[in-house]
């Protein structure tokens, strides 16, 4: 297995070099200097700006420098827009993103599998039909509607009624506490941070779950219904296994393969963050930062974030194959 992982990693090196190359080339189609300096800059100003940005050097040199940063994971270039090293920016934005995306993915996956199991168990009956109608309904409503409804009913009205009873507000309409993006404070004052998390992150997470649980449920139900139609299910029932045993042991292990695929595909998006939620709830995560960087033509930030996401994508693909082999004995890594 280790030789498989190593081989896959080696195969992906040229792919990765290509991704980084393409990202850097595409960015350089437009000269960022003019955007930064506005109208009518002098030749000297342009030259000075070029040098300060580091784009006066030959492309090969810029490429080499960035690769070195990626290998050492030491992103010491400064953001052109925010004037702080990219490394510092990463440190500051990763945690807020993960605080939203990880709970969303975990909750939505577990809920999705759970509801799908219930629906598949009662396939074709009223319970199943009701759940599927709700799932389609949940999928059909726009993300933005959830945000607005969530902020109005979940935060604004709830807080008003809490205030009327002299209680502290439960969810903030938007905002974030900087302490949450510092791992040190989580170690020192976990209780306070947990409270902060409920105030600022719980509502965005709930909304994220609402948005994705419909899709998840429908997908997992389809997988399970397909599995329940297989011959080995009849064999298990003919053996005298009860419905629950058939569902939770015989079927579920077979259904794990599509489940793993779906979860692993969404792993890279954990880092990217839920952009819409971050923007509307003012959460200083990677998604919002990346959008800001693209608007400001902030090459160091765009390059670093994109290259990191690409790396995570490749790693999660390899991890997916390894997990397949662990779950399905027919898959051999070679």
């Amino acid at each position: 297995m280790w030789s498989f992982i190593l081989r896959r990693l080696l195969y992906n090196i040229p792919v990765y070099l290509g991704i980084v190359l393409v990202v850097m080339l595409i960015l350089r189609v437009n000269d960022p200097v003019y955007a930064a300096l506005g109208k009518n800059p002098s030749v000297e100003e342009i030259q000075a700006k070029r040098e300060s940005m580091g784009i006066d050097r030959p492309f090969v040199e810029q490429y080499g420098r960035f690769l070195k940063e990626l290998v050492t994971l030491d992103f010491k270039r400064e953001s052109w827009d925010l004037k702080i090293p990219v490394k510092q920016l990463l440190d500051r934005t990763i945690l807020p993103s993960l605080l939203i995306t990880v709970p969303t993915l975990v909750t939505s996956t577990i809920l999705g599998i759970g509801i799908a199991l219930v629906a598949a168990y009662f396939r074709g009956r009223a319970v199943d039909k009701t759940l599927m109608i709700l799932a389609v309904l949940g999928m059909s409503v726009s993300y933005l509607v959830y945000v607005i409804v969530g902020q109005y009913f979940g935060a604004h009205l709830l807080n008003q009624s809490l205030a009327a009873r002299d209680l502290d507000p439960l969810f903030a309409t938007s905002g974030f506490d900087p302490a949450l993006s510092d791992l040190g404070t989580w170690a020192r004052q976990p209780a306070r941070n947990a409270g902060m998390w409920i105030t600022y992150c719980c509502l965005p997470v709930l909304i994220g779950v609402f948005v994705s649980v419909g899709y998840d449920t429908r997908f997992y139900r389809a997988v399970m219904v397909e599995e329940t139609g297989r011959d080995y299910i009849v064999t298990a029932r003919a053996k005298g296994a009860g419905n629950r045993r058939v569902m939770f042991i015989h079927m579920l292990k077979n259904a794990m393969i599509p489940v793993i695929t779906r979860v692993m595909i969404s792993l890279p998006f954990l880092l990217e963050g839920a952009i819409v939620v971050e923007v509307y709830f003012g959460i200083p995560g990677m998604g919002r930062t990346l959008i800001g960087a693209i608007e400001a033509k902030d090459f160091p930030v765009i390059e670093t974030f994109t290259a990191l996401l690409a790396g995570i994508f490749i790693l999660s693909n390899i991890l997916t194959d390894v997990l397949y082999a662990l779950v399905d004995p027919r898959v051999r890594l070679s």
Binding site: Y232, T235, A236, A241, P329
Partner: protein
């Protein structure tokens, strides 16, 4: 291999004193479909005696498999309905109305089943030893070591080489014949009274078919398990069955001992089935095999009168108007569902199964 009796020692008809192990009466199974209710098995009655092999034959779609799955109640409950008048009497209970949790104690322990597709019938993600062990865990109080010994013993009985190693294999590591042996081991590990084999050899190649049939025969002799063998291969029936029940469009149309059916088949459909068996030396090169003209009628659109009337070479006006009952029409012999049963002996030889 000329016109030798199809079975070496024609089984004597079961002595009247013997009690059937399974008594099926008026079994009617309906499916709910998009086009309405359809009756897949219509008023089927038969007995199964201990230690005998009953063959159920017929074309695809005649209700053989639905009959067997109805007995085990393995059909999807949301679309199937077993008529409340149906009786499936086993060990003093009516399986047709037994609650699910009691039925689970019958399935696998008293009545076991093997299926047509050994390639897909085993769970692909569990070791075969685990799957055998599960049957023992569900139905016996043996401890882990005893179960392991039993699993190895069962695999040895079904002639799987080095069972200690094979039990740790996954199904995909075994050949089709091996998998069917595992299925048989799994079905027989709790020493059931009845083994229902639904086309157990159809998916296997010819040499393996013979091995599997021999295996079932020798196991039956050892354990006195009654076997219900569902097949469309009359050669297989001739080789291993004691009695035969012929089905057509959801109904039993003829039943009797193997001798009765192969030598004195009375229903035109049974005759046609026998004639469509390829015969050794009985066929000019290039000539077409005899086939039954037409198609099995759709269960949605059954002919009025006898269900075989559209395809029958001996059809008369009465056949189209009135459906014959199942009984001893004409000369007293084995029962048949035909107004005008054929009473001349069959003039064909049946080759034993390959």
């Amino acid at each position: 291999m000329t016109s030798a009796p199809p079975h070496p020692a024609p089984a004597p008809p079961p002595a009247p004193a013997r009690e059937p192990v399974l008594r099926v009466r008026n079994l009617t199974t309906r499916f709910r479909t998009e086009r309405g209710m359809v009756t897949a098995v219509d008023d089927v009655s038969f007995d199964l005696y201990p230690g005998e092999t009953l063959g159920i034959v017929g074309e695809s779609g005649c209700g053989k498999t639905v009959t067997s799955k109805s007995i085990m109640r393995l059909l999807p409950e949301n679309v199937t309905r077993i008529d409340p008048a149906s009786r499936i009497e086993f060990a003093g209970r009516n399986l047709a109305s037994l609650p699910e949790h009691e039925l689970r104690r019958v399935r696998g322990e008293k009545i076991a089943m093997i299926f047509q597709e050994p390639m897909t019938s085993l769970n692909p993600v569990f070791r075969v030893g685990w799957q055998l062990d599960e049957a023992l865990r569900l139905h016996t109080r043996l401890n882990r070591a005893e179960r392991r010994a039993k699993v190895i013993e069962m695999l040895r009985i079904v002639e799987i080489p080095s069972p200690e190693n094979r039990m740790d294999d996954y199904p995909h590591q075994l050949s089709g014949g091996m998998r069917q042996r595992v299925m048989i081991a799994m079905a027989l590990c709790c020493e059931p009274d009845i083994l229902i084999a639904d086309e157990p050899t159809t998916a296997l190649d010819v040499t393996i078919q013979a091995q599997i049939l021999d295996l079932m025969e020798s196991l039956k002799r050892k354990t006195r398990t009654a076997i219900m063998l569902i097949t469309h291969n009359l050669g297989v029936v001739a080789q291993v069955c004691d009695r035969v029940m012929v089905m057509y469009a959801g109904r039993v149309i003829e039943s009797g001992s193997v001798r009765d059916i192969f030598h004195r088949a009375r229903h035109p459909y049974t005759r046609a089935l026998l004639e469509s068996i390829p015969k050794k030396g009985g066929r000019v090169k290039g000539a077409r095999l005899p086939a039954i003209g037409g198609m099995v009628p759709s269960l949605f659109n059954l002919p009025k009168g006898c269900r075989f009337s559209d395809r029958c070479g001996f059809v008369q006006d009465r056949c189209r108007a009135e459906e014959p009952t199942f009984g001893e029409h004409g000369a007293a012999a084995h029962p048949v569902r035909c107004h005008f049963p054929i009473e001349t002996p069959v003039k064909i030889s049946v080759r034993a199964a390959p």
